[in-house]
Amino acid sequence: MRRELPLAICFIMGIIMTVQFFIPHRHSQWLFDNMLKWLIIVLTFAMILGIGNLVKLHIQKVQHRRRDWLYSIVALFGISASLITGFGWGIEADSPFMVLFNYVQIPMQATMFSLLAFYIASAAFRTFRARTVEATLLLVAAVIVMLGRVPLEGIVGRWLPDLAEWILDYPNMAAKRGIMIGIGLGAISTALKIILGIERSWLGGGD
């Protein structure tokens, strides 16, 4: 019941969903469409645990006046704001929930994302050094592609963007395909081991 049953469920579901892929029939399609929804619903229930965990941690921090506990109040405030507005007034276009999303969450997320512009520059400077042959190849390919994507026509000829495109289309694609085929095999192998119950670390310990 505690170990065998979950392994059996995992096995059966794995086989069903593998076989389903080859059956275009309506029943099979129905299963596929619903399965994806079901899995996200299961995830939503799990989110109760996740948010519960987050709330618990921050409450503990505040209670025990741990370092930075004041900020935990901010986090708790944020969660409550989302939940109260979201469940209280719904999620229509101009609801308080969406205002919170558009003017608080989106700007901060977009700003975090845009940090990449800085980090890509600092990482390039810090790490693109011709230390070894491999590093030099990486460096040269990166510089060619970067220059190829800048509108420098007239200064250097068409050959630079053409070369950049060629690198992207051929050597780059070849490497990507090689990695992807390996990933495909590795993923299938891992999935098989999980279905067969060989890989069972997800069960955790205990009985």
Binding site: T18, F21, F22, I23, P24, H25, R26, H27, S28, L39, L43, A46, M47, I48, L49, G50, I51, N53, L54, L57, Q60, D68, Q105, M108, Q109, A110, M112, F113, L116, Y119, I120, S122, A123, A124, R126, T127, L138, K176, I179, M180, I181, G182, I183, L185, G186, A187, I188, S189, T190, L192, K193, I194, L196, I198, E199, S201, W202, G204, G205, G206
Partner: protein, 383 residues
């Protein structure tokens, strides 16, 4: 090896033979059940009418009537130039008659032809025969070698630098008295890379339990958090230190990509972990994490199967497990024969794929048509 390749090629040939060739209508109008579908669809083809070239040609009209019905109802008007229509509203099992008429600006429509068809759902998608052959073959090879390994066959695995560094990295954190940060990617538990990350976490946690080094595991997904909590607890129990396990070391953050990154960046700057692991699925945030970690001077070991993010980890981290190496980590760190066996199976499958690439190349050299025919064996259908 030879035998396996033979089987593989024979199966592919069989697959090619059974795959339906696109039908050319021999009659003016031909209707057939939509192939490889869930049912409810009929395809109607027709030969272009000679009237197309004449002035006033407006297109075609597709009509339908079920058995027993008197009149044809128009179901679609087709612009000039197209000679195919898919009726998506056919009822399964009902015999229909389809009629195509030519529309002209003057005069009544001219009947082009009539054809009968009945829609049904199929029980096997022939367009996916190659995938079936692939799945059966790959599974067979992998399971075969797992069984051989169980029989006690000698198994070798090559050096993977990123994994050899794991012990040192944990040792270093212990010496410095600093924690270890483990990020298991920003995907849910359904991703294979997340599962690989969980297994690596299990191995890492055994070491941190042994040395009693603090471990920080912020999670992006609640199910991942549930599972990882159990994995870490189990590792501490197995190492005989259940009391050293801190329940709060594995915690949920948020499912917002950049919200999660903001939090992990904060942890890196405040807790100053000596070692950062980034294992699993990563997206645009990979470089933000790796650059922030580099700034704090941590040793960084990354592993991901996201091809687009590998360049950033390669440049900003000390060690990077690329693609399949991430999955191989479980076998490498645990040296469990069953896992090593599956690794060997993967290698054999790889060898067969390489052989297929060579064969395809030879075919292309012999004749372009032969090469294209061979390549099409691997073509996938989207639907």
């Amino acid at each position: 090896m030879k035998k396996l390749t033979g089987i593989f090629i024979a199966l592919s040939l069989a697959a090619a033979a059974t795959a339906a060739a696109p039908e050319e209508p021999s009659l003016p109008v031909a209707a057939r059940d939509g192939p490889n579908d869930a049912g409810g669809a009929v395809e109607i083809f027709w030969l272009a009418s000679p009237l197309e070239k004449e002035e006033g040609f407006k297109g075609y009209e597709v009509q339908r009537r079920a058995e027993g019905e008197e009149v044809f109802a128009t179901i679609a008007e087709i612009p000039p130039g197209e000679v195919v229509h898919q009726d998506q509203e056919a009822e399964d099992g009902v015999p229909y008659e389809y009629r195509v008429r030519v529309l002209t600006s003057e005069g009544a429509p001219v009947v082009l032809g009539v054809s009968k068809a009945t829609a049904s759902g199929q029980w096997f998608n022939t367009a996916r025969t190659n995938a079936l052959v692939g799945v059966v073959f790959t599974s067979f090879v992998i399971i075969f070698f797992i069984f051989r390994a169980r029989g006690g066959a000698e198994l070798f695995v090559r050096k993977i630098a990123g994994l050899d560094a794991v012990d040192d990295a944990i040792g270093r954190a212990t010496e410095m008295g600093k924690p270890i940060l483990f990020v298991s990617g920003l995907a849910d538990a359904s991703e294979i890379s997340t599962i690989a990350a969980m297994t690596i976490l299990g191995k890492v946690a055994r070491k941190t339990a042994e040395y009693e080094t603090p471990l920080i595991v912020p999670c992006y997904d609640p199910i991942v958090m549930m599972v990882e909590k159990e994995i870490v607890r189990q590792a501490y129990t197995e190492m005989g230190k259940p009391d050293a396990f801190d329940e709060d070391s594995v915690f949920f953050v948020t499912q917002s990509q950049f919200g999660y990154v903001a939090a992990v960046d904060g942890i890196m700057l405040r807790e100053k972990p000596a070692t950062n692991f980034y294992m699993g699925a990563f997206f645009a945030e990979s470089l933000i994490l790796a650059e922030t970690g580099a700034e704090t001077g941590a040793i960084q070991i990354a592993g991901t199967d996201r091809v687009t993010q590998l360049p950033f980890f390669i440049t900003a981290c000390d060690y990077t497990l690329m693609g399949e190496e991430l999955y191989a980590a479980t076998a490498y760190l645990g040296r469990d024969p069953l896992f090593l066996g599956s690794l060997k199976g993967q290698d054999w499958a790889k060898a067969v794929i390489m052989l297929a690439l060579v064969v395809g190349t030879i075919f292309l050299i012999i004749s372009t048509d032969l090469g294209i025919w061979f390549a099409k064996l691997f073509e996938t259908s989207a639907s």
